[in-house]
């Protein structure tokens, strides 16, 4: 088993996902009232920061099994894009619009990028170079 020092990608990704879930719960809990978007935007911004930080820290790892990472992550990306598309479709079907739609759509983008990253990382970290 690999004993390389790797950045805490899983932990950071879960924290990032927790932030967008919290934002989603906050917005959903106030339907259909007009709700201040600031808390949801802050949660989303923090989640995006964690995602980019995660990608940057992973990109700096020397000797990481990128071939395996992308082989898995690209199919995972396809699957989670379909799932995110389903959720977006449900939002649009129910006439969600304005700031709430933008925040939730961007949250879905974070979800659709970060989960495949996590799957690719979990697989590639055990690859023997």
């Amino acid at each position: 088993m690999s004993d390389r020092r790797l950045p805490p990608v899983t932990e950071v990704a879960m924290a990032s996902l927790a932030l967008i879930v919290a934002g989603g719960v906050y917005l959903s809990a106030h339907l259909p009232q007009h709700v201040p978007l600031a808390p949801a935007i802050v949660l989303l911004a923090l989640s995006v920061l964690l995602m980019f930080g995660n990608l940057a820290s992973l990109a700096r790892v020397r000797g990481f099994a990128w071939e395996r990472f992308f082989a898995v992550a690209k199919w995972s990306l396809l699957a989670y894009t379909v799932i995110a598309g389903m959720i977006e479709y449900a939002f649009l079907q129910n006439h969600l619009h304005g700031g709430a739609l933008v925040v939730l759509t961007l949250s879905l983008v974070v979800f659709a990028v970060h989960v495949p990253t996590l799957v690719g990382f979990t697989v590639a970290r055990y690859e023997q170079k």
């Binding site: 879960m14 996902l17 927790a18 898995v72 995972s76 055990y126």
Partner: protein, 207 residues
């Protein structure tokens, strides 16, 4: 693997693959038939949401929710401990047959439950903050949110990683052991959280 027979903890750490007599059967990481079935479910779900008709939405939400709850409870609390007590060869065979199905089943079951449930909530007005039991609905959001984070962050990556490890010419028993433990423990936690979902949903359905 360094664990010696008879050593403390040896049973729990029994190697899955290095035993010379253990064979890893041929398997597909993602079964093709499963992809076709999942695509069909997605199409039907889109039609159900577009039609906004009660019966198909109820069907997807109730059938999906029941499947999600039962699979988590059964896997975490029944099958998991059984899997841990099997011989290494039996465990490999069970894993290569069970885990590819889980790769397809769980994401699609979760998607159909949540998407149909959201649409039903909009249709019935149970998502609105004016709904008398709104706090229970918000509690369900939180429970589902935590479960989603665990499933997406730990369970699903472990599921795929263990299958890819088993596809290698020389799979590492330590890696498989570690990932399977993560998968089973995570499934057990999700199973227990499903009890909370059952409490909330039965409360909402009976109110």
């Amino acid at each position: 693997m360094s664990v010696q027979e008879g050593a403390p903890g040896a049973e729990a750490d029994v190697a899955l693959a290095p035993h010379p007599s253990i064979q890893v059967p041929e398997f597909r990481i993602v079964p093709r038939a499963g992809i076709v079935a999942a695509a069909l479910v997605v199409v039907l779900l889109v039609i159900a949401i577009a039609a906004n008709s009660r019966w198909p939405l109820d069907f997807f939400h109730v059938a999906g929710g029941a499947a999600w709850t039962i699979v988590d409870l059964f896997l975490g609390l029944v099958l998991g401990p059984i899997l841990g007590s099997l011989s290494p060869q039996a465990r490999v065979e069970m894993t290569t047959k069970l885990m590819p199905k889980m790769v397809v089943i769980m994401p699609i079951v979760v998607t159909m439950t949540l998407a149909a449930g959201w649409q039903l909530g909009i249709k019935d007005g149970t998502l609105l903050s004016s709904y008398p039991h709104h706090s229970w609905v918000v509690a369900s959001f939180i429970v589902v949110g935590v479960m989603s984070i665990l499933a997406l962050g730990l369970l699903e990556p472990a599921n795929i990683a263990v299958l890819i490890e088993l596809k290698k010419p020389r799979p590492s028993p330590q890696v498989i052991e570690q990932l399977m433990k993560r998968f089973i423990y995570c499934a057990a936690i999700l199973g227990l959280m499903q009890v909370a979902t059952l409490v909330i949903m039965t409360k909402l359905a009976s109110s």
